[in-house]
Symmetry: D2
Amino acid sequence: METKHKSDVLRRMKSIGGHVKGIERMLEEDAYCIDVIKQIQAVQAALNKVSAQLLENHLNSCVVTAIQSDSAQERERVLTEIADVFTTATKV
Amino acid sequence: METKHKSDVLRRMKSIGGHVKGIERMLEEDAYCIDVIKQIQAVQAALNKVSAQLLENHLNSCVVTAIQSDSAQERERVLTEIADVFTTATKV
Amino acid sequence: METKHKSDVLRRMKSIGGHVKGIERMLEEDAYCIDVIKQIQAVQAALNKVSAQLLENHLNSCVVTAIQSDSAQERERVLTEIADVFTTATKV
Amino acid sequence: METKHKSDVLRRMKSIGGHVKGIERMLEEDAYCIDVIKQIQAVQAALNKVSAQLLENHLNSCVVTAIQSDSAQERERVLTEIADVFTTATKV
C-alpha cells in the first residue's frame, strides 16, 4: 500500500480501536442499551469505510498485477478472493 | 454472460419475482407483519445470491478483458465500478 | 394495519415487483452486469424501507397489545420475534 | 442488565477490542489487503452478535417496563428507538 493510504487506513483503525474501548466503558457503567447499540452501529459504519478503502487499494495494485500476469492460476485466485469478500459483505 | 449462467440467473430472478408477488398477496390478506418481514428477508437473501453470481461472472469476463487491454482509462473504469458496488453492498 | 399504512406498503411492494420485472428484462437483453447489480441494490434498499415500515406498524399495534396483556407467554413470543428479525436484518 | 448477561457482553467487547488491535498490527506489517478485509468482516459479525444480545436484553427489560407503564410518551419513545436501530441495522 502507498504510504499515504497506509497511514490513513491505520489512523482510522486506531480511532475505531478507541471507539471500541469507549463502548466497553459504556457497558461497565451500565449505559442505556440503545445508546450502546447506536455506538456499535457507528463502529460498523467506520469499519465499512476501511474495508472499502482497502478493497479499492487492492484492486488498483495486486489485482491489476495479477490479471496482467501470465499466470491463469494467479488471475483466478485474485478474482475468487474478490467474489468471496463481496459475498460476505452482503451478509454481515 | 455464458448461456448456462444467464439462464440460471434469469431463473432465479423469475423466482424472486414470484416471491414478491406472494408478499403482495400476504399484505392484501392482512398477514401477520412478522411473517411478511421474514419473507422480505428471504427475498433479500435471494437477491444477494444473484448479485454475487453476476459479480463473479463480471470479474471473469469484462474485468479481465479491461485490465488486459491497453487502455488505462478502461482499467480505471472497471475497477471504480467494483469498488462502488462493494461500498453500496456494505450499506444495503 | 391501518388502511392508510396498508395501501402505502402495498403500493411500494407493487413498485418493487415492477422493478424486479425490469431487472429480468435487463438480463434477457444482456445488460451490463454492473448496471444489473446496481438495480438489484436499489430493490434491496426499497425492501429495507418496506421492512422498516412494517416493523414500526407492528411495534405500535401487536407488540403493545401483547405486552399489555396478562399472558407472559404472549409477551415472550412477540419479543423473541423482534429479536429474530433484528438478528436476520444484520445478516442480509 | 443482569450480571450474567453484562459480563458476557463485556467479555465479547473486550475480545473485539483485541481483534481490532490485531488488525492494526496487520496493517502496520503490510499484511495482504484481502486478509485484513476478512478480519474486519469477522469483527463486524462479532459486533452484530453483541448488538443482537443487547437488543434482546433491552426488549425484555426496559421495553416491557415502558409499555406496561401509564405514560403514552414513554411507550412511544421506546418503540421509536427500536424502529430506529432496526432501520440503521439494515443499512450498515
